[in-house]
């Protein structure tokens, strides 16, 4: 089960939960599973976040694979200069 973490700003979407275990093999599957738990969260996550999988940050993570016990963080988007 992947350990999915939400920044405090995203927890309004999860009923306050900071960490949720999700069974998924890709980020897409993971977001789909989350959307079933918290309807509407998928749109917000795909629009407003980068994803860190085991410490590595991805800007377009949808098809990235998620290993067993991976640590996944949804992060606010930021811009470089």
């Amino acid at each position: 089960m992947a350990q999915v973490h939400f920044s405090a700003g995203l927890r309004e979407l999860t009923g306050g939960a900071a960490q949720i275990e999700v069974d998924a093999s890709t980020v897409r599957g993971l977001i789909k599973a989350l959307d079933e738990m918290f309807p509407g969260i998928a749109a917000r996550l795909s629009e407003a976040s980068s994803v860190a999988i085991d410490g590595e940050i991805f800007t377009d993570a949808e098809y990235e694979s998620v290993s067993e016990n991976a640590e996944v963080h949804f992060l606010d988007i930021f811009q470089g200069g």
Partner: protein, 750 residues
């Protein structure tokens, strides 16, 4: 130079040859944004709002249109209404910032543009465009904009990130929040607590080249744009959005770019130039004056930031509470999100709350500026940390070492850090002679640290091998500070041929695959990785050609030092030159493309040491010695790594001591010139000493992390901490100008 991991003995990577585009740039041949002239080209001029906030009642262009030499006049009505077309809100903001429709939201906001045969005719026509405004009340700072009865910039703006969503609109676009642990418990465990409040002013990126664009539109709907930007693919996309056309109808050629620092990742002139060219049927050049650059482009946010931190006697930070509000300017999108993620990211802190607000106000829309959002937060946090170190009488490096994030630390913004080099930058400072150099009267020493993510994103590269065994490396990343050199060095290393045999070029949007902007410190990392991938495809191809030539299996062929060698030495080696000359026999031209969405971004850290001398009579602060230690991962091109470090530091010194936007009560900028917006000059500064730390990024073929941005994060706090050390005053407002330092000194005496 501090090297923390063994240099693997590269032949080209890490050397200091002359940059490939250097001769053009020292002989005046390099073509920057304003340097292009086309046959029949017209000069354009933009009409800008004199009001900070006003409704546009009417625009009468008839007088301008009838003037001698005038060929086109355009207003917001000449562009599609994206809101009516259901576009994304961020696209609507881009369009409305390029040219106002119903309201102007800052002084300098574009309302119209003209094109005429001569510069003088265009300027006269711009003055003749008659705009009737209904002035509205305005807000200039986060305090004014967040007040309960503040006039609204956007009547429908509901704060995002608040649960439940507010029912009433406000100027607060969004709230961000990061928290961990138990704040009360953390402060309860502290032996000392320090709380301070800080303000910073908007500052401009200050690139010396004003924005410039030439557009040549054809009657078939296609157009060619030459412009100076940090990403011509991005300019194509934004321009297409504003014009309501397919990006494929636009070709954008990247002029040489005269500095950007984030400020040239956005569009201003390009869609106006295209529309004027379409209306006039002739090419049009638009170039900003410096005062337009100040009034309508950049800057980065002014801020208010409160920081409270607690520390145990042995120097462990037990809790941190950070509140911050960042000016976004006219449209949502200040870098407060990144500020929230970076503010305390250098440290492993068990209990914290970081809360931030993105606040619109009647100033130009902020644009990215080198590690956007991080420097202001670092000024506040690193100043408070300095106070804490003084309170418990701990060395400023040691308190940072005690709390430093290392591999495996759960970063304040979420994930665990992979291998990072923060500790190594702290140690590099401590080992440097500057750390123990003697200080004179009224001199003081300050330390500060900074973190920046760096970025990956999308890049493409093509490598062609020429018939004589030289190679052309084609990318689409504008070279803003020497990246052609780093591309050529990596290609030389991969192909095993001399650096001088490689010609790196920046191609237009129709000649190479997509490249994201030159920003986020990403080009050497991501575009470099694409170049490496393309070179490796070339090498695979060359091995196959050698195998064909020798009639052996390809696994019998190795590529060593720029030549194919048989593993048992049974064949005379074939050089790249040999293989290229006979490429027709082995399959035709030798060429490869690589495109990627970069993985494995490596975080950057910088620690800096500043010595100042403060004149107690005048309050003037002079930087007398400066050292920057930064983890580059791997310095592909050390000359230009140092250049990024030194440049970032000096921008930071300007931000610390002099630079600020000054507005009058009507919201009109009072200092839109380099005379009154005082950036550092050579006589203000000492040499900027550099310690390049190399803790390779394990996810990049050469260990690159990216070096462009993090260097600007620590300087404001480093200077402030040095002033504190020199004359015993804690400066909490930027810039720390002579008058403010003098006031603080007088308060101390009083």
């Amino acid at each position: 130079m501090a090297i923390t991991e063994e240099n693997p003995g590269y032949k080209w990577v890490g050397t200091r040859p002359i940059r490939p585009d250097g001769v053009e740039k020292v002989t005046g041949k390099a073509r920057f944004g304003a340097d292009l002239t086309l046959p029949g080209m017209l000069f354009g001029k933009v009409v800008r709002s004199p009001h900070a906030h006003a409704r546009i009642v009417s625009i009468d262009t008839s007088a301008a249109e009838s003037m001698e030499g005038v060929k086109a006049v355009i207003t917001g009505a000449d562009f599609p209404d994206l809101a009516a077309n259901g576009a994304h809100p961020s696209e609507i903001d881009v369009a409305n910032n390029a040219i106002a429709r119903d309201k102007v939201l800052y002084e300098g906001h574009v309302v119209a543009a003209v094109a005429a045969i001569t510069r003088e005719q265009a300027e006269a026509a711009a003055k003749a465009v008659a705009v009737t405004y209904e002035a509205l009340p305005h807000v200039l700072t986060v305090d004014e904009a967040m007040a309960d009865d503040a006039p609204l910039l956007h009547e429908a703006m509901i704060t995002k990130g608040v649960d439940p969503a507010p029912e009433e609109p406000s100027n607060i676009a969004s709230k961000i929040l990061h928290e961990r642990g138990d704040l009360d418990q953390g402060f309860g465990e502290a032996d000392e607590v320090v709380e301070r409040e800080f303000t910073t002013k908007p500052v401009h990126q200050g690139y010396i080249e004003p924005h410039a664009a030439v557009a040549d539109a054809n009657s078939d709907g296609r157009a060619h744009i030459w412009c100076s930007s940090q990403g011509h693919f991005q300019m194509r996309a934004y321009t297409a959005t504003v014009l309501g056309v397919s990006p494929g109808t636009l070709k954008v050629t990247a002029a040489e770019i005269g500095g950007g620092f984030g400020g040239k990742t956005v569009i201003y002139l390009e869609p106006l130039a295209v529309r004027l060219s379409q209306r006039a049927g002739r090419p049009v050049k638009l170039v900003m004056d410096r005062d337009e650059v100040f009034r309508a482009t950049g800057p980065t946010s002014g801020t208010r930031i409160k920081v409270k931190m607690g520390v145990s006697k042995d120097g462990k930070i037990t809790a941190a509470e950070v509140w911050m509000a960042y000016e976004a300017g006219a449209y949502a999108g200040s870098p407060v999100g990144a500020a929230g993620m970076t503010a305390i990211a250098c440290y492993d802190i068990p209990n914290f709350v970081v809360e931030g607000y993105d606040v619109v106000c009647n100033k130009p829309r902020v644009a990215a500026y080198r590690a956007p959002g991080a420097p202001m937060a670092a000024f506040a946090v690193e100043s408070v940390l300095d106070e804490l170190a003084r309170t418990i009488e701990m060395d400023p490096i040691d308190i940072r070492l005690t709390n430093a994030a290392v591999e495996g630390t759960q970063a304040s913004y979420g994930p665990k850090f992979p291998r990072i080099g923060f500790v190594e930058t702290l140690e590099a400072i401590k080992e440097h002679p500057n750390y123990t150099a003697e200080l004179g009267p009224n001199q003081g020493r300050g330390v500060a640290a900074g973190f920046w993510f760096n970025a990956g994103m999308m890049s493409s590269a093509t490598v062609h091998v020429n018939e004589n065994g030289t190679a052309t490396v084609v990318t689409g990343s504008p070279d803003i500070g020497g990246s052609r050199q780093s591309m050529a060095l990596m290609a030389a290393e991969e192909l095993g041929i001399p650096y001088e045999s490689i010609k790196p070029i920046v191609a237009d949007t129709e000649t190479v695959g997509f490249n994201d902007v030159t920003g986020g410190s990403r080009v050497t990392l991501a575009t470099g990785a694409a170049v490496v991938d393309a070179c490796r495809l070339i090498v695979e191809d060359l091995r196959g050609r050698a195998a064909k030539t020798w009639d052996v299996e390809v696994d019998q062929v190795e590529w060593v030092d720029g030549q194919a060698q048989h593993v048992d030495g049974s064949q005379p080696p074939l050089s790249l030159n040999d293989l290229a000359a006979k490429s027709g026999r082995t399959g035709g031209p030798i060429s490869a493309n690589a495109s990627l969405n970069s993985r494995g971004v490596g975080a950057g850290f910088s620690t800096q040491l500043c010595d100042v001398e403060v004149d107690p009579e005048t309050g003037v602060t002079r930087v007398v010695r400066y050292l920057s230690a930064q983890d580059a991962g791997r310095a592909i091109s050390p000359d230009y790594v140092e250049g990024q470090m030194q440049g970032g530091v000096v921008q930071g010194i300007g931000w610390a001591l002099n630079e600020e936007y000054i507005h009058d009560t009507e919201g009109v900028m009072e200092n839109p010139s380099f005379l009154d917006y005082r950036m550092p000059v050579a006589s203000d500064l000492p040499m900027i000493d550099c310690a390049i730390v190399e803790v390779p990024n394990p996810a990049h073929p050469y260990g690159v992390r990216g070096v462009g941005e993090v260097g600007i994060v620590p300087p404001m706090a480093a200077v402030g901490n040095a002033i504190r050390d020199a004359v015993d005053v804690r400066m909490t407002e930027l810039p720390m100008s002579p008058i403010k330092v003098l006031e603080a000194l007088n308060e101390n005496d009083g």
